[in-house]
């Protein structure tokens, strides 16, 4: 077993937040070139210098040696919507670098879809230029995939705004490692994440936001649903580094437990070496309010539909922010599939 967790702080290992381990054989995948990406991005170029995979050296080596899709996107014009859809039936190790030039606004959707029992690892690097704005949706419909790794590094320049929406309808093993650097003054990073766990899914989420610029703003909302024997381990870190005066950071995490066997572990971390900041976090979990469920059912709605309604209501905090109607509908479809 190899430990691939890179949380910024250690705790007593009995708490289990630093020991996300996987079998080495899981990384012994074979890949063939992937050419099935459907995209309307004109400026797709070969990526020669691969960004580092933020998980661990093992996944970084895998990315460098076995990647079968490595592209760079330079967005120099404000655009309506760009899409990249990966429909894959084979092992996929993709690497994408997106550079948003200064003053440019861009909306991008990256979608991963697979019905096969295959392996997926994505390494995505975002560079958001000065005064630029990026609205990025990453959608993973990979419920039969045996392992889905998502490594992201986001660099936010001065006055940039990044909205990242991450929807993951989980594989047997899901792992996210998202590191955002707000080095530019007045940069903003808003991050929403929704995950679903069912059967015996294992979900490991490690989200880090490092703030070193002045007057930056960040907000992280992580909502999820866990059913059956699924397990989730969430570590969310907001790190106010020296120089981040007058920055504001907020982190909220909530997990709906649909089953008595589901397990939720959450470690919302606040690190602070700068006095003049405002940081807060909250974490909560539980099942449906029984009274509320009863009330909805008493209106003639079946139990399954009532639960769907309540899940949608709980997740609406994030879903309502999605401007793309099609993506919104797909999220609702996934919720419907749960019941």
């Amino acid at each position: 077993m190899i430990n691939i967790d890179q949380t910024p702080v250690y705790t007593c290992k009995n708490y289990g937040i630093n020991n996300f381990a996987i079998d080495e054989t899981l990384l012994a995948v074979k890949t063939t070139p992937y050419t099935n990406c459907k995209t309307n991005v004109e400026s797709l170029k070969e990526l020669k210098q691969l960004p580092q995979n933020s998980f661990s050296k093992e996944l970084d080596n895998l990315t460098k040696q076995k990647n079968n899709f490595a592209k760079k996107i330079d967005i120099g014009k404000t655009n309506q919507q760009k899409e990249m859809i990966f429909d894959f039936e084979q092992n996929l190790v993709d690497v994408i670098e997106i550079n948003i030039e200064k003053n440019i606004q861009s909306k991008i959707i990256i979608k991963y879809v697979s019905l096969k029992n295959v392996f997926h690892s994505a390494t995505i690097k975002l560079n958001i230029g000065q005064n630029a704005k990026l609205d990025l949706i990453i959608f993973c419909d990979v419920q039969n995939v045996n392992a889905n790794f998502l490594s992201m590094q986001i660099n936010c320049d001065t006055n940039s705004q990044t909205l990242l929406h991450l929807f993951d309808f989980s594989a047997d093993l899901t792992a996210h490692n998202v590191i955002s650097n707000l080095a530019g003054d007045h940069s903003k990073f808003h991050f929403d994440s929704i995950y679903f766990g069912k059967n015996k899914d294992r979900i490991n989420l490690n989200y880090q936001i490092k703030i070193s610029g002045k007057e930056c703003e960040t907000k992280m909302d992580v909502l999820g649903v866990l059913d059956n024997y699924s397990q989730k381990n969430f570590v969310g870190t907001i790190n106010f580094l020296k120089g981040s005066q007058k920055s504001v950071g907020e982190e909220n995490e909530y997990a709906i437990l649909l089953s008595d066997k589901a397990k939720s572990k959450a470690t919302p971390i606040l690190l602070c070496t700068e006095e003049n900041v405002d940081g807060k976090h909250s974490s909560s979990c539980g099942k449906f309010d029984e009274d509320l469920l009863f009330y909805v059912k008493s209106r003639g709605i079946t139990e399954a539909d009532a639960k769907k309604l309540l899940v949608k209501a709980k997740l609406n905090k994030i879903i309502s922010k999605i401007e793309n109607v099609k993506v919104k509908e797909e999220v609702f479809e996934q919720i419907d599939k749960l019941f």
């Binding site: 708490y15 397990k263 939720s264 572990k265 606040l270 940081g279 807060k280 909560s284 979990c285 099942k287």
Partner: protein, 466 residues
Amino acid sequence: MNKLESPNHNFYDFKNDDNYEYKIKKGLSKDIVEEISNRKNEPKWLLDIRLKALEIYNQLELPVWGPDLSELDMDDISTYVKPKTDKKSTWEEVPEDIKNTFDKLGIPKAEHKYLAGVEAQYDSEVVYHSIKNEMQKYGVIYTDIDSAIKEYPELVKEYFSKCVPLTEHKFIALHYAVFSGGSFVYVPKGVKLELPLQSYYRLNSPESGQFEHTLIIVEKGASLHFIEGCSAPKYSKVNLHAGCVELFVKDDAYLRYSTIENWSKNMFNLNTKKAILENGAKVDWVSGSFGSKISMLYPMSVLKGDNSSTEYTGISFAGKGQNIDTGFKVVHIGKNTSSNIVSKSISKDGGVATYRSLVAVLESAENAKCSVNCDGLMLDSISKSDTIPVNSIENSNIVFSHEAKVGKISEDAIYYLTTRGLSENDAKALLVRGFASPISKQLPLEYAVEMNRLINIELEEVKKND
């Protein structure tokens, strides 16, 4: 501009001559452990525990998390220092220098005014003990652990090391190898003590350690408030405190455990405290951490019984050169259990304050309720405040919430108060006092002499610099 000062530790920083009857050689070895045991004339079962603990200590590594403990070298620490007195039952019998020490700390006065019983430990042994007669009439036992081992061997053996096992971590293993002193309290069924018991620990000897063991059993329906205070003068080299507190709270019993810790800034405070609660039991923890160079302190409640509950209210202050890593752990096992955690930390002058906690709700913990609120206040830009709470939930039928904030004193609030005629420092002092008030309210003045004094001293320093 910010003139808030750290607590005035000078008050506690008075030293007596290192005048002992016996001071064991520095270091840690089987010989040293056996010598401590022989000096106390202990039964074999206890020596066996000590030796087993030493074995475990040598096998375990230092933690890879938390403050850096590399400065701690057991070869520079004497683990047993016997003062030049045995345990006395009146202050007049206690040697002058030791008596003066506890006089300065206000212990005899507090005993007279507010307490049902007092125990005072100086270096490695208890030097004074008393309990009001009526307590003994009800069958309350309050004595030092060494006496309890001799006078109540079966009772002690039944509970000793059953709450905090030898393998818990490296410094508990060290504790069990060299423990000396500490309190034993037994409150029989249905007995409710109106007045608290207090034990005070003073470490005077340089380059030494204090390893007291406190064992408290509160039987069914009984009630107790226990206060623990500690301090030491400052030396240039490291002193070590690795005590252990084991609390057994039976069905429908209540225990309030209050600690005001004010170790000197050369002290490594690696203390362990745990309570096991049976059906309907309740334990309230109140904790003030104002001293030590490095503190790693995480009191813990195990809500084993149905309908058991626990509350933790704690404040820590990390000043210059201090790294205070503290928090609370609670494990929900029984049905209908509840926990409420409120923690405040203040850091200034480069101090590092870390809140580190665990909330674990196991599968069996139906209908558990848990609420955690931790706030960090930074008084300047050279300090650090970290919050690392781990929440592990394995039952869906629970109500759980956690929230935390970190930041500085609100500029708007300071401005508002200065427009009301307060100086900037008075305004800051008022706001810091307000920040700490949920904790200071838990301890009535007459019971928490030390804690309120420390908060007040800190705030008086603010006014002095005005």
